[in-house]
Structure formats: C-alpha cells, structure tokens
C-alpha cells in the first residue's frame, strides 16, 4: 500500500479527564515537505504533536496515525524516534551541566569495548554535526549552560538530527531566539528540507510560517479548520482562519494622557553574579512618566532583562544605582519591596520564574495578593474565587476549571495567568519582560488592549520586547540597550523606524549624536 504522504493523522481525538482538547483533527505531511501548524493558544497544537511523537501513548487518544501508509501505534517516544519522528518541545529539554556533546548523544553515548564512554568519538561526531549545521562556533566540550537560550535551541536541533530524523517537529522553536538566531534556524530548516527531511513547524510568528512552510494547516479550539498550500494564502487569511474573524489592525493604539515623571532610574549598573568583573548593565539612566508606555529594545542578551530585574529587586548579582519614585529615593532589595511600592514585573522566563506548575491556575493568580484576601486569619474562599473568576474572564484565560494545575494550560494561557497575577496588587508601574512570547495573534491583541486600558487608568508600563514591530506599534518612547549600555532614548514618532533602532542597538554611535534626535 503506497501513500503520497509520509504521515497522515486522521480524526485525532484526545481528552484530559473528560475535557476535550482535540476533537478530530487531520494533519498530513508529504515527503520533504514543511507543514506550518497554526492556531490560537490552547487550540491543541502541542497536544497534537505530543500525540504524534508518542508522548501521549497509543490508546490514550482516538483516531489513526499512518506512517508511510502503515498504522503507527507508539507506546512511547522511543518508538516514534525509531521510525524517525523527532520532536523539539516548546520548553527546552537539555541538561545544563552536561557538555554539548553529552547532550547531543544523551541516551545513545558511543562507548568502547570496555564499556566506557568514548569521549573522543563523541566530540568528533558532535563537532562534525555542528559544522554541518553551520554552528562551528559551538564547542562540543563545553557545558550547555555556557550558551544562551538561542544557541541551546540550535543544539537541540543538532541533537534531533543526530537521531537521523525523517520528520522533525518544531514547537515554537524561535520564541526565545534573537532575530539573527531565528534566521540561522530558518536557514537550517531550509537545508534540511533540501536534504529530504520533512517537518512540522509551529509558531505564532506568521512571517516565519510564510517563509518556511509549503502547506499550512489551521486548527481552532481542537477542531480542524483547513489546509492549503502556502502560496494560496496571505497572512491575513491565516489570521482569519485562526481567530475566526478579520483582524486588520494588529496594534490597537489608543490615545492616552501622559503625566509627570513617576520613576527615575539613575546610573543602574549590574554585575554578573558569576563573574563580577563583567558589567551586564553599565550605568543606565532613564525615567518613566505616569501613563507612559516605555518600550525597551535591544538584542537578546544586551542587558535589558538584567536592567528591569534590578529595578524590581530580583537581580541575583550585585548592582548599584539609585531609584527615585515620585522624586523620592527608594530602596528596593527584594521583589517584595518592589510590589509594596507599586512596581510589579512579569518575568521573561515563564517556566522558571512565572508559574508554580503544580498549583491551580487560580491559586497562581491569587498568589501575589493572598495577604489581602483574609478574613479572621483564614483565606476568604468566596472572595478569592470571585477575584480569580474576574481575572480569568478579564484576560480570557482558557482553562477547563480555575482549579486545574497551571502546568496543564497551553503556553499562551499560562502567560496570561502570570500577567493576571502581577496585576493583582494594583501596581502603579508594570514591567513586562517579553509579554507576548508564545502568545497568539488574538491574545496579543488583547494584551495590547489591556496595556492601553491600564495606561488610561494612569499606570505606567515598561515593556521589554525583542519584536520591533511590537515596540514600535505600542510604545510612546523607546529605549535602546546595547551591550549593557543605553544606546538611545527615542520618542516614538513617525521618524522612528526598525532600522534606526537596530542601528542604535548594534553600532556604538556616540550617545551625544543620538540625543540630538531624542527627547529630553
């Protein structure tokens, strides 16, 4: 029996304790083809891929999977890897302490006759593989933790390839990559395609889908919506299929009043906790006004996260500089101090810093305000639940129940819950570090609307973002950070372009020249 398809998934159904996550989805992949899988947060993309890769074993889902025309009934990831299906998960799965080579060969370490690991062979093979992927600059003998999130993603891909993948599944691979790294990754996928490896590519960044996909499959709320060759679709078409309605304007800019200066940061310097000789942030000063949206742009690793963590009292290393709130100096040594002063932060790394995975969604949300919800020493359950309900409907968090562990939510919905949590204490200044990472277009729009609603109430927003269209789309003012230094402070008017921001971020133009165009 021959089939034109490498993979056919037919009518896949999957429920979690009675809540239907997939209600009959089809997905087909031809040899050497790249299929873009699109859908909103919680649509079921990751679940679909977990079904395919055997994370959810055969029998725990319904429908049929055909691999080269033959039924595939995998009991575990091992079985699917054996036929050549390799998945790279949304969350990184490397062992940070082990070397790059050890990670690449984890579980399949080459060994010699005496049963000892053959490190020479492992290093040589890894180096060959990395060079082939144009990643020759990565040293296979170094621990993975030496490399940033983006490089680690590429290492994951090298690992996948060392397993001789016929079908590679990439679940939001670029959500923590810089634009250069993203370009490298996309080129890599192109190379692979040329070599005949098929792939399923999941991303909320539609420009990537446009660039890489041959066919697009769209799902919504666990149902199959449609499939079409990329050539026949525009970005607007995909959005319409995903969201179920037209979305012409991606950035709902709204007029809002900007008041007096509320926060001033003066000469913030952060030292690397492991290597105090290295300045991660070097003498950065800026100010934020009431009702202002301040965008912070710059390359990943340029010191933006360090800067805002220091302001929030969360930077682990030592730091110096002064913070003035309403003109008065304040001491912020812990996040608790910051929250009490009305400064809240939604951290960048959701998995490690944002969620308490085993705790219910609702209890994650109420964690920041629990102290205010007591009556007679006990938590007032009724009030807590009604606050949680309000938060869930305000941000339209998709969850079967407020008491479901948050780990079971899709990535984007987890993000919304974390934002809810940090809105709880009614901050005056809200710091958002990459707030729309892994969030779908519709939800992004909602987050932007929320940002505008908040500034209209007089909140100030500091938003770190690597997506320049987003920075330009909603900020009132843009700071550019490069190599730990302030490289520019621009008013966001018509003259500000992505090119100007990038130029400021990359090259070391003297600040004096920049401040000629910047706003005092």
């Amino acid at each position: 029996m021959t089939s034109p398809y490498l993979l056919e998934m037919r009518g896949i159904t999957k429920d979690f304790a009675g809540v239907v996550a997939l209600g009959g989805i089809d997905l087909r992949v031809r040899e050497g083809e790249c299929v873009g899988l699109c859908g909103e947060n919680g649509a079921g993309k990751s679940t679909m891929m977990k079904v395919l890769s055997g994370v959810h074993p055969y029998g725990s889902w319904g429908g049929e999977i055909l691999w080269r025309g033959e039924p595939l009934r995998a009991a575990s990831v091992r079985d699917t890897e054996a036929v050549g299906i390799v998945i790279i998960h949304q969350e990184l799965m490397l062992v940070p302490q082990l070397s790059v080579a050890e990670n690449i060969f984890l579980g399949r370490e080459p060994h010699n006759a005496a049963g000892l690991i053959d490190f020479d062979r492992m290093y040589i093979e890894s180096a060959r593989l990395l060079a082939e992927l144009r990643m020759g600059h990565i040293d296979p003998t170094q621990p993975v933790s030496r490399y940033g999130g983006g490089q680690q993603q590429l290492i994951e891909i090298a690992r996948a390839l060392s397993k001789d993948a016929k079908l590679l599944i990439l679940d939001e691979p670029t959500s923590s990559l810089t634009s250069t790294e993203t370009a490298t990754l996309l080129r890599l996928v192109h190379d692979l395609k040329a070599r005949g490896t098929a792939c399923v590519y999941i991303s909320h960044k539609l420009e990537e889908i446009e660039e890489i996909a041959d066919t697009v499959t769209v799902i919504r709320d666990g149902r199959f919506v449609g499939e079409a060759p990329m050539g026949e679709l525009t970005r607007a078409d995909i959005i319409r299929l995903m969201v179920g309605r037209d979305m012409s304007n991606l950035f709902p800019r709204e007029a809002h009043e900007i008041g007096d200066t509320i926060l001033q940061a003066v000469g913030i310097t952060c030292l690397d906790p492991d290597n105090p000789a290295r300045r991660r942030v070097d003498d950065v000063s800026f100010s934020v006004r009431r009702g202002e949206i301040l965008g912070i742009a710059g390359l990943v690793g340029s010191g933006r996260t360090e800067l805002v963590s220091a302001i929030f009292g969360a930077w682990p290393g030592s730091h110096s500089g002064e913070i003035l709130l309403d003109g008065r100096p304040v001491r912020i040594r812990t996040p608790r101090d910051a929250v009490r002063l009305g400064i809240c932060m939604v951290p960048e790394d959701r998995k490690h810093h944002g969620i308490v995975p085993g705790l219910a969604v609702g209890y994650n949300i109420s964690l920041s305000v629990l102290g205010d919800l007591t009556r007679g020493g006990l938590i007032d359950e009724a009030r807590e639940l009604s606050d949680i309900d309000a938060a869930i409907s305000r941000l339209r968090i998709k969850t079967a129940s407020p008491l479901l562990p948050i780990a079971n939510l899709s990535g984007g919905n987890q993000q919304k819950a974390v934002i809810s949590k940090m809105l709880g204490p009614n901050p005056r200044i809200l710091i958002l570090d990459e707030p729309t990472r892994g969030v779908d277009v519709g939800a992004k729009y909602e987050i932007y609307k929320l940002i505008f609603a908040l500034v209209r109430e007089g909140l100030s927003i500091i938003m770190v973002s690597s997506e320049l269209p987003e920075v330009l789309g909603i900020s009132d003012r843009v700071l550019v950070i490069g190599e730990g230094r302030l490289r520019g402070d621009f008013v966001n008017d018509e003259t500000l372009t992505q090119e100007r921001i990038m130029a400021a971020a990359i090259n070391a133009q003297p600040i004096s020249e920049l401040s000629a165009v910047s706003h005092s």
């Binding site: 009518g11 159904t13 429920d15 239907v20 209600g23 009959g24 089809d26 994370v55 029998g59 725990s60 319904g62 429908g63 066919t215 149902r223 199959f224 919506v225 449609g226 499939e227 079409a228 060759p229 026949e232 679709l233 078409d237 929030f312 969360a314 812990t334 996040p335 608790r336 929250v339 009490r340 809240c344 951290p347 490690h352 810093h353 944002g354 969620i355 308490v356 995975p357 085993g358 705790l359 964690l367 920041s368 629990l370 102290g371 919800l373 007591t374 020493g377 006990l378 938590i379 359950e381 009724a382 639940l385 009604s386 309900d389 129940s401 407020p402 008491l403 949590k421 940090m422 204490p425």
Partner: protein, 404 residues
C-alpha cells in the same frame, strides 16, 4: 481559500464515540489513574489489610481495644513529628535533626521538672519556646545563609544529641513528677470523647455542605450528592468507630487527642491560610513565588519553627511516657517521621502532601512496629520489613503517577 481536502472536521458524536471506545480498551491506564486519585483510600485499605493480617496471626489479640489504644499512643509521637515534617518536605526541604531535637527538648523538660520542680504549664511553655527557637535557628541557616537544609539539620542531628549528652551527663533523669507523667498516661473521659466525636463530625459535615454551595456558586464541578453523602457516611463510621474503640478501653489518650487537634488545626492551616498556601507555592517553584512578592525566606523560617514546636510536643510526650528524660530518646525518630510523610504521599520534590496522609503513614509505621512486636519478631527483622515497606510505598507511588 481553496481547501486541499474537504473540511473533514469529525462530528462531535464520532469524536465522542472514539473516546468512549478507547476508554473500554484501556483498563490498565484507568486503574492507574483511579489509584493515584484515591491514594489515601489505598493507604487505608493497606492499613485494614495489615490489621486483618496481624489479627489473624495473633488470634485476635491485636484487635483488642487495649492494644489498639496502645498502638495509637505509640503512633502519637511519630505523628507529632510527621505533622511538622510534612510541611518541611512540602516546602522542598528536609529536617534530619528532629530526632535529636526531640531528645534534647524532652531532656530539658525532665531537667526542669526533676531538678527545678517547675510547674507543668511553665515547663511546657519553656520547652515549646525552646523548640520554636531552635527551629528558627535551623530556618535562619537554611533561608538566609543558604546552607542546604540537609547539611544544616545533619549538623543539628549531631550537635543536639551532643548537647543532650552534655547536660544530662549521659544518665537518665528520673523520676519525673506525677503531673508530667499524666501528660502521656491520662485519658479523656468517655462523655467528653463522644462530644468531641460529634463535634468533629458536625464540623466535617458543615464544611462539606458549605463547600458544595461555594463550588456551585463559582461554577466549579460539584460532586454528585450521593458521593458526598457516602463520603460523610464513611467519615461517620470512621470517627465514631475510632472513638468507640478508644472508649472501650479507658478513653482517648491525651497524646492521641493532641494529634487529633493538630490534624484539624494544621489541615486548616494548609488549606485555608496564606502561610499554608505559600508553603505549597514555595515547594512548587520558589523563584516564581519570590517574584510574586512573597517573603519566601520568612515562610521557610516559620516552617522550621513549626517543626521545632512539634519536636517540643513530641519531646514532652516522650519524657512523660518514659517517666524519665533519657539521653537516647528520639534516636532515629526523624527517619520514622520522614518515612511516614513519604508513605503518606508527600512528594520529595516538594509542593504536594497532606497532614492526613502523613498521619496515615505514621499509623502504618506504628502498626508494623506494634504487630511485629506482638508476634515476637526480632528487631532486626522489624527494621528490614519497615525499610522494605517504605521502598514499596514509594515505588507504587512513582509507578502509578503518570510519567509527566
């Protein structure tokens, strides 16, 4: 858009049928989820089986009211420690020093009684305060000085025992006064026992019914009424059975009463107080909790304070039970307490566990001790069996929770 295939979204009915189909074919998975969902039930079944086994082997002697009362008294001390330990483990830490601390505090209590003739209330107050302070000391080292709790409390395990040997000169402190002995040897009058039983049941029944109303009000899944009524019936049988047995022999022993009160108070603390919720949050992800504006160091410190107070109660009970302060009191008790928590379903990774579970674990340990002693099993065999049971319990737990 021209769609490649027909929009073959499967109809809900077909999807539902497919799901139903696989339900039938997937029994093993089903049993696993049942087991992991009703873990506590499984533990209670295990206790019932053990009791039946021992009853059979001892020709019914095991199941006499006298022996069961005795068993519960034996369990009380481990139970007190487990009540504190469960929160330490939920917070993602460990406390190896509690056995030595129990000995030290029990010794102090004996010295205060025998040498200084302090009245009982003052004696208890001082010892509890000392327990809290030592707990705070441990907690300070763990939370602020960032020394792993394993190390801090391992140091305590040695040092506290050393202090105890120093202050007692290595000899037993005896005889302790009557009031102190009464702490372990007195019983609640029968009438009071029944009133207590009725109170406990009434509280459980009202909270359950209130929780139904609340869940309905917030559109949460409400279990069917019959299920809740059945559960209440089980509670009623359990509670009244428990008190009936104890009353058949002299009444509720005071240490057992203390454990029952602790169970109630600490369960409310775990579920309904800010402190309790934060303990679970810290165990689940301390960084995320810290970044939510919680003073995580203080929470950790207080968890160790609670542990210290529990060690104080256990120490006083031990001294009262032995009617003496013994320099070896409490040796290896920390391991029994940890084992109780683990058998009772507390996750070593932190973030999950209940007081009821930990006490059930303690009851299993006490059952093994008591039953095997009655059968005259050699001590070395008792240790081997307890080790084996611990391993088995954790394996069952790991094997039945899903891989992710």
């Amino acid at each position: 858009m021209t769609q490649g295939p027909p929009p073959a979204a499967i109809s809900p009915a077909v999807a539902e049928a497919a799901i139903g189909e696989r339900r039938r074919t997937f029994r093993a998975e089903h049993i696993k989820t049942l087991f992991s969902r009703y873990k506590i039930l499984a533990l209670l079944v295990a206790i019932a089986l053990l009791w039946a086994l021992f009853a059979h082997a001892t020709d019914g002697d095991f199941l006499t009211a006298r022996n069961l009362s005795n068993l519960l008294r034996q369990m009380a001390i481990t139970g007190m420690l487990a009540c504190g330990m469960v929160f330490v483990i939920i917070a993602g830490e460990i406390d190896l020093s509690v056995g030595s601390l129990l000995g030290l505090l029990g010794g102090i209590s004996a010295i205060l009684d025998v040498q200084f003739h302090l009245p009982l209330a003052l004696n208890i107050a001082i010892v509890v305060l000392a327990g809290g302070l030592v707990g705070a000391f441990n907690g300070y080292w763990v939370a602020w000085l960032r020394v792993p709790s394993f190390i801090v409390t391992l140091a305590g395990l040695l040092a506290f025992r050393g202090i105890l040997l120093g202050i007692t000169g290595g000899v037993t402190i005896a005889p302790v006064s009557r009031p102190l002995v009464a702490v372990a040897q007195s019983y609640l009058p029968t009438v009071a026992g029944w009133i207590l039983a009725a109170l406990v049941f009434a509280t459980l029944a009202t909270t359950q019914m209130m929780s139904r109303r609340k869940r309905a009000a917030f559109n949460l899944a409400v279990p069917p009424l019959w299920a809740d009524l059945a559960r209440l019936a089980v509670y009623a049988i359990g509670i009244f059975g428990f008190f009936a047995i104890l009353d058949a022999y002299r009444g509720v022993p005071l240490p057992v009463l203390v454990v029952i009160v602790l169970l109630g108070v600490l369960t409310v603390m775990a579920r309904r107080t800010v402190f309790g919720r934060r303990i679970y949050a810290i165990g689940g992800n301390i960084e995320a909790t810290r970044l939510s504006g919680v003073n995580v160091q203080m929470v950790k410190l207080l968890v160790f304070v609670l542990m210290g107070v529990m060690a104080a109660l256990a120490g006083i009970s031990t001294t009262a039970r032995l009617a003496a302060g013994s320099p070896s009191a409490g040796s290896l008790q920390e391991l029994d307490a940890i084992a109780s928590c683990i058998i009772g379903g507390t996750s070593m990774r932190g973030g999950a566990g209940t007081v009821f579970g930990a006490l059930t674990g303690a009851l299993i340990m006490a059952t093994l001790d008591n039953g095997m002693s009655m059968l005259g099993v050699d001590t070395y065999w008792q240790m081997i069996v307890k080790g084996g049971i611990l391993l088995l319990a954790v394996w069952l737990d790991v094997a039945t929770t899903s891989r992710r």
